[in-house]
């Protein structure tokens, strides 16, 4: 068992390394992975005015990791004049989603109601996903700020998933699975995901089978996407910290093994 003193050393070392990496402002370029390239190429090739759906299915705790991913994808979508229908199937993601949409829309001069709309939160996520396959306006009769859905210009060209090209789910848990399992097979809806790094491996089987189109995962995924977009954001700014933390953990593993073998040889001699 490692002692309290050792724990404090480990924790302090990590804190110092990460803080220094932010202070020193090192820049790094991440080569895009196949999944991020696939996600980027998909949005890049969509015709202007195509409508996509974006769902903020995450908790507030995942915001530091999810926000760079969502900002990158939203900026890309708005830059290519795609129209966005936003919603949330997680209560905590509602206000976060609304704020992120408004922020990116404001940066690119997009108008609420015409270029994007935020429908708000629906507690019964399975019923919501299935219901939107028949009629989105029935599931969300009003948007988040209280406007009737049938009076919003963007919503007049949206009935159900037939009018939505792809659903992008930003998640830190298993909400994306419901999109894949309900919107996918029943309505043929294409699904893309923006996930925390810890969740990526959980969705590998869906990627392998093609049920999930692509994934942008973790801060590294956000950094890669930003590089493809040509705009530095939180993803790239966090890469030095993440890299230094990785290197620190590698050093700890090596140090731990050196200590282990040294103690073993001492016991052998003793």
């Amino acid at each position: 068992m490692i002692t309290l003193k050792t724990r404090w050393l480990i924790f302090s070392g990590l804190f110092i390394i990460v803080t220094l990496s932010y202070i020193l402002k090192i820049s790094m370029v991440s080569q895009p992975s196949p999944q991020v390239e696939k996600s980027f190429d998909y949005l890049e090739t969509l015709p202007e005015s195509t409508i996509i759906m974006v769902s903020f299915d995450h908790e507030a705790s995942a915001l530091p990791e999810i926000q760079p991913i969502s900002l990158a994808l939203l900026r890309h979508a708005f830059k290519n004049n795609l129209r966005i229908v936003g919603l949330s199937l997680f209560a905590e993601g509602t206000a976060i989603g609304y704020r992120l949409l408004n922020k990116t829309a404001g940066e690119l001069g997009k108008k609420y109601g015409q270029d994007y709309v935020f429908l708000g939160f629906k507690p019964q996520h399975i019923a919501a996903i299935l219901g939107m396959g028949e009629s989105i306006k029935d599931v969300f009769p009003e948007d988040y700020i209280g406007n009737r859905s049938d009076t919003i210009p963007l919503m007049m060209s949206v009935s159900n998933y037939d009018d939505i090209d792809i659903v992008i789910s930003f998640a830190d848990g298993d909400r994306t699975v419901y999109w894949i399992e309900y919107a996918g097979p029943r309505y043929g809806q294409q699904v893309m995901a923006g996930l925390t790094a810890a969740m990526i491996t959980s969705y590998d089987p869906y990627l392998a089978s093609g049920q999930l189109y692509s994934v942008v995962g973790g801060l590294r995924g956000a950094a890669e996407y930003e590089n493809l977009l040509g705009k530095t954001g939180k993803g790239n700014r966090s890469m030095p910290a993440q890299t230094s933390a990785h290197l620190y953990v590698i050093a700890l593993i090596i140090a731990g093994n050196i200590i282990y073998f040294r103690n073993r040889s001492r016991q052998g001699r003793g």
Binding site: M1, L4, R7, E59, S61, D172, G173, P185, A198, M199, T201, S202
Partner: protein
């Protein structure tokens, strides 16, 4: 349970299954079929699996005995409770954030809780059970109370030790960490469906020197538990706990059925791999 009751249930189950698969008539209003043909392979595999499980349960009547191999994590339950009693410290048992009462993993966790509760009642050791779900809290209170009654010490049961904290993941994780840091349990049970809070709890338990027994159905969190805990129940070991701890033949026979099904799946995979290697254009195994 009387043999006749189980037989009635099995027959009812099979009749309803057979009846449902025969209902392929179209609805006059919507044109939607009662049976979705796309789910046929799933139905066939489900029926085969259910038949094997039912046969195993039924065959126990013929007097066949089933033995489950030693599962270190479950064998250590008695040791963990004994340790807590000797040290005069409590036990913390928590089912994780990821699951609710519908999940089989939570049911499996409650099975183990029942056994732990009987032992803590016997040894007069405090059992603290914090949870994120009020439904699980309600069920756990009944399970623990029944455990104490079965052990013959109903007066030792304290319902305030089984409580709801918060439905927020990290509110729950922080609360459990706080409970562990302040009450310094000798033994920690982390059994259920866990998400990101798994390592937070496991490392906290490790830092206070508690013996930790963990088990989850999440493959990601399993890796964290294996590193941080003393005993980890991997895969279906968690589900075998009920039979292992109770030695109930009906339950043990269903564990045996799981093994039979696993062998069948392995054979299917081998055949499909060999076939795909020889004839890569074929795809009979996919649907």
């Amino acid at each position: 349970m009387p043999a006749g009751v189980l037989q009635v249930k099995i027959i009812t189950f099979i009749f309803l299954l057979a009846g449902s698969s025969a209902m392929a008539s179209d609805s006059a209003e919507t044109g939607a079929a009662w049976f979705d043909p796309a789910t046929l392979p799933t139905l066939i595999v489900s029926i085969i699996s259910i038949i094997i499980v039912l046969y195993s349960i039924y065959s126990v009547r013929s007097g066949r005995e089933f033995k489950v191999r030693e599962i270190p994590g479950l064998k250590a339950v008695e040791e963990a409770v004994g340790r807590a009693t000797e040290m005069g410290k409590p036990i913390v048992y928590t089912p994780g954030y990821g699951g609710d009462i519908q999940r089989p993993t939570t049911i499996a966790s409650l099975n183990i809780l029942s056994s732990v509760a009987e032992k803590t009642a016997e040894y007069d050791c405090r059992l603290i059970y914090p949870t994120h779900d009020p439904v699980i809290m309600a069920v756990a209170q009944e399970v623990v109370k029944e455990g104490y009654i079965k052990a013959g010490y109903p007066d030792r049961f304290n319902p305030d030790d089984i409580f709801y904290i918060s439905s927020s993941q990290f509110g729950y994780a922080a609360a459990v960490d706080g409970i562990m840091s302040r009450s310094r349990p000798a033994s920690v049970f982390l059994l259920g469906t866990f998400e990101a809070e798994s390592l937070i709890m496991a490392e906290t338990g490790n830092s206070i020197g508690a013996i930790q027994i963990a088990g989850t159905d999440s493959t990601i969190q399993l890796a964290f538990f294996i590193v941080a805990c003393d005993y980890t129940l991997i895969g279906e070991e968690l589900f075998a706990a009920s039979g292992y701890l109770s030695d109930n033949p009906s339950i043990l026979s269903s564990v045996k059925a799981q093994d039979i099904l696993k062998v069948l799946i392995a054979l299917f995979v081998i055949v499909a791999v060999v076939w795909a290697t020889i004839d890569s254009s074929s795809g009979w195994w996919s649907y």
